[in-house]
Symmetry: C2
């Protein structure tokens, strides 16, 4: 440590023996070392310490630096607290059902997406309620895009429940990127905004997706976040013939 401080000029020995190179320090050095160690202990880096120790800062500036440190530490503490909550949420998830793998849950801000979509009402959530609506809407949108000469991207769905009666409005369609598409009364172009989500990549058929949602929602709650809307689904790889190979990204909007 002393060699390092010598090298960067933060604390140089009083005297260096010419023949042997041995470093000798005096009491003045000890006082300086104490200041360096004290400031390091507060979490300042060596550049900041050099400024404080060399320039004999006025009290006002020193106070300012201490306030900055204080704020920074409080910030770090909050970050680590949130992290701890997430770790503990995983532990609780493991206890609830040991076979479920929750290690894929990622917090992120989505990219904004532009889709061409149609929408329809389903009697409720769940595969058996939603599937018929999907089966009706997706070919409709696909045909529309084909007719317009637009190449469809991945398919996307999002949900809505304006009526509070258990029914769900399902919106689904295809990403269109920067291709221009005219809306008609069935197919509309919608920009899904960037939002904060907890996301999971799900592999296989959608039949068992509900238990994944359950675990995801529990995890969000355990971690101290709050749901702020209904889910978005991105069908990253889809084939009706080989559902075991399907890959879906499930996104739950969250706040806090």
């Amino acid at each position: 440590m002393l060699r390092h401080y010598d090298e960067i000029g933060l604390l140089q020995p009083d005297r260096v023996d010419e023949a042997t190179g041995y470093r000798s320090y005096g009491v003045a050095q000890l006082a300086r070392l104490h200041r360096v160690l004290a400031l390091r202990d507060l979490g300042f880096n060596l550049e900041q310490i050099r400024v404080v120790v060399d320039d004999e800062l006025p009290v006002e500036q020193l106070r300012g630096m201490l306030r900055m440190r204080q704020a920074q530490i409080e910030d770090d503490l909050a970050t680590e607290h949130a992290r701890l909550a997430r770790v503990e949420a995983h532990l609780r998830a493991l206890e609830r059902n040991p076979q479920m793998i929750t290690q894929h849950i990622v917090l992120k801000t989505t990219d904004p997406v532009r889709i061409a979509e149609a929408s329809g009402v389903a009697p409720g959530f769940g595969h058996e309620n939603l599937n018929p609506v999907f089966a009706q809407l997706l070919p409709e949108v696909l045909a529309y895009l084909e007719a317009a000469g637009v190449r469809p991207g991945i398919s996307v769905a999002w949900y809505d429940d304006p009526d509070d009666d258990g029914t769900v409005v399902l919106h689904t369609g295809f990403e269109i990127g920067d291709q221009t598409v005219r809306s008609d009364d069935r197919v509309r172009v919608v920009d899904l905004p960037a939002i904060d989500v907890a996301a999971v990549v799900h592999r296989g058929p959608m039949d068992d997706v509900e238990s994944v949602y359950e675990a995801l929602i529990q995890w969000i709650d355990d971690s101290g976040y709050h749901l702020s809307g209904l889910s978005r689904e991105l069908y990253l790889q889809w084939s009706d013939d080989n559902p075991a190979e399907n890959v879906t990204e499930l996104q739950m909007p969250i706040t806090k």
Copy 2:
């Protein structure tokens, strides 16, 4: 980030274009990336993540790793909390008396010291009470060591108040290192054990040392530590003729 993960083999592209070197990833990669990001967010390093993601760990081991992370984060939080308290103690010290520089306070464990000492009773703390006792004891010990052919090191003092009546027992003498000294009834060889202290390097005469002690004790209290004894003083550089150049290390034993 993806280039880095490719390089260390944590996440390699499905396909690399031979001509251009462009990396292409498939949906399987996306699932893997999600797991990597999720684990990274919990604070695991890339080596640990590689193990979890590659070896499909049994639930028991995964639980173990999460518990370790949990314990580590709790530890970090405690450390940072203590650091925050120390920063805030400095801020409060600045507010109390802006001219006082408290930036030298260092927490450390002392090295054990062997001294040859004599002791005497003073009517109380404070320069005027202690000085006559020092003036009597130190020459006595010095003469004893000289007669024994022992080279004295720096002088040291420590305190004791067995009688709870305001009087203080002052122990003072010289470091003797590994030189052997016989004790008599006035001069004894004492090993001062290693203890945890808050230490300050004080420059100048001892007249104004009391205010330094006051600030030190306040700081210790503000930082959430507890005094666990009376002080030790190391006279690192001493001359009665030129007290402005004197350098003293003041050590207060603390716990917690």
